[in-house]
Symmetry: C2
Subunit: 328 residues, 2 copies
DNA sequence: ATGAAAGCGCTAACAA
DNA sequence: TTGTTAGCGCTTTCAT
């Protein structure tokens, strides 16, 4: 363990034989110092192992080189968010920013240059507080509260669900059901809407269930157990909540259904677990890591002015077809 | 969106009719100001919505009110780490600290008061760099490199694995196998050691596999497929890597084995997915959230001197028995 | 029990 | 093209 490194800008300036300002300018903005001194200072800094004092930079510039990240806690148990977080951190690192995790409402004001909110629930008080922060906010999926984010990264869930439904229909499914919750923000609401529209176009009766709030997989299993007796003709099941498809499989099997044959199953959130079930489950890949990176990127674009407030960017998503929806 | 809040300490002091110093002392250390002024200043600060400028505090005190957190990236798909992270953030928030996620090696020096490293892999260059940082480091599980952490939170995996093995033995298993990797640091190594010792004591031949590095679940499935023909007597399987038990089940079934009857299965990492498999899988609950909180707590104890460098704290873990290991 | 003043390391006016 | 000077908001001596 080496001792702390008190290599200040002054030390670098002194060693390079220039003034504090020149050293600062050489290390940062261009145009002010000559190329020769720029190189000299840069080399000196490197040699001395100089690393700027963030606190001092912060104090002076009123920026923090840090962005805040909030992920909903209810759904802790989701690999989706883990990937999302890594995506954000990746992109932030690329921009020389740190990422602070925001969960509870901090007592003192937050010290970040901007915020990324993953799936902001209108019901979450922390989200509400953060949406009102005095810094740019980027949300992944639209926020259904009254505040408006400066930037939004959203996917066309409706379009992809429609593609998926068409595939199921082509595979012979005539009586599909959707298990989705509006409690989870815009995502669930979009899925429900798209499902209703597809049903209307296709002329099938809407068969939809809202899982009880709380543990998603267990609630989904309950939905399945309730659906089957009520609708014995059910021949396809689409599960929205992450991890719930895995819960639906045993419930269907217990009811004597053969997944992939009697009943097709698909998940609205992909994940490694769905490759290992029997059969592997068709799923919508939301590209979580890419989503996180896109949010951070948009936030930085907002911060440096290369994106305007109100920007909405679309994120590509797609279906992975697996055996659970390919009978025969 | 309200404008930025330039409520400085000076503003509070002025409004309260005291000096900067008195205001500062009133808000922080005790003993210096009278109770009357303390209350006066506190009320004034609250009324004005004062929130201390972290950057200025940092600059002055050379602390950051931030701790760094590193979680291994290879195992992204683990809900274990998600819970762990929340545990750390929870505890940090309780201590009025922020948590910064550290993944890649930052170009500039890190600005944190201390570090928490979850499962530090000796092979991870980022971990190596962080272990050498000039701030206290707490690791969850021992680091097998040459650096020594200031604090360690560890569980007695050997003891709990032994309990699990005894349970399997009591349930009739005579030929148990362990799938564990030493590539994952001290945890895997401890499990392997404990397994060998138990085998020695019990007089059964050691049946152990090291899954190929990379995607844990797939590698585990490969191990299972290799184990069965080589050792047809195998009657119990313990899977260490997170998520691998779920992969083992279909592999065993494909080989014609009935899980819970022919062959008992247990996981060394619990997770919600294991409740939904058929049958539900017995697992060791590592209490990830508690682990994260314990790491942060130890770090703060180290920082304020209430724990000495070199402190090792044990974290309670235990087995959840489920149908996969209770035949009949 | 309280004030005055110094200064943490840096950037941005203002000079030269 | 470069140097000088003034703070950013706070904590901390040192003096009352």
């Amino acid at each position: 363990m080496t001792t702390a490194t008190p290599v200040t800008l002054i030390a670098v300036a002194k060693a390079a034989g220039v003034s504090k300002t020149t050293a600062s300018d050489a290390l940062r903005r261009s145009g002010r110092v000559s190329e020769a001194t720029r190189v000299l200072v840069a080399e000196t800094a490197a040699r001395l192992g100089y690393s700027p004092n963030r606190a001092a930079q912060s104090l002076r510039s009123a920026t923090t080189a840090t962005i805040g990240l909030h992920v909903p806690e209810i759904v802790t148990r989701s690999e989706y968010y883990m990937s999302f977080v890594f995506g954000v951190v990746d992109e932030a690192t690329r921009h020389e920013h740190d990422v602070t995790l925001l969960t509870a409402r901090r007592a003192s004001g937050l010290r970040v240059d901007g915020l990324v909110l993953a799936d902001p629930l209108a019901a979450d008080p922390v989200v509400h507080a953060l949406m009102d922060a005095a810094v740019p906010v980027v949300t992944c999926e639209r926020f259904l509260g009254d505040a408006r984010a400066a930037g939004i990264v959203a996917s066309d869930h409706a379009a992809v669900l429609t593609v998926l439904l068409d595939q199921l229909h082509a595979a012979g499914a005539r009586r599909p059901a959707l298990i989705a919750s509006t409690a989870l923000g815009d995502w669930g609401a979009s899925l429900q809407r798209a499902f209703r529209e597809w049903c209307g176009r296709t002329g099938v009766r809407v068969l939809q269930r809202e899982p009880a709030f709380g543990s998603a997989p267990a609630a989904t299993a309950d939905c399945v157990r309730a659906l089957l007796p009520a609708d014995p003709d059910l021949d396809a099941l689409i599960c929205a909540p992450d991890g719930s498809a895995a819960a639906a499989l045993p419930a269907l099997r217990d009811a004597g259904r053969v997944v992939g044959t009697d009943v097709l199953v698909a998940s609205c959130v992909d994940g490694p677990a769905l490759l290992l079930t029997d059969p592997p489950v068709t799923a919508i890949d939301l590209h979580p890591r890419e989503a996180g990176a896109a949010c951070a990127r948009l936030l930085f674009d907002l911060l440096d002015g290369s994106a305007a407030a109100g920007t909405v960017r679309e994120l590509e998503i797609g279906v992975h077809r697996r055996r659970s929806t390919t009978p025969g």
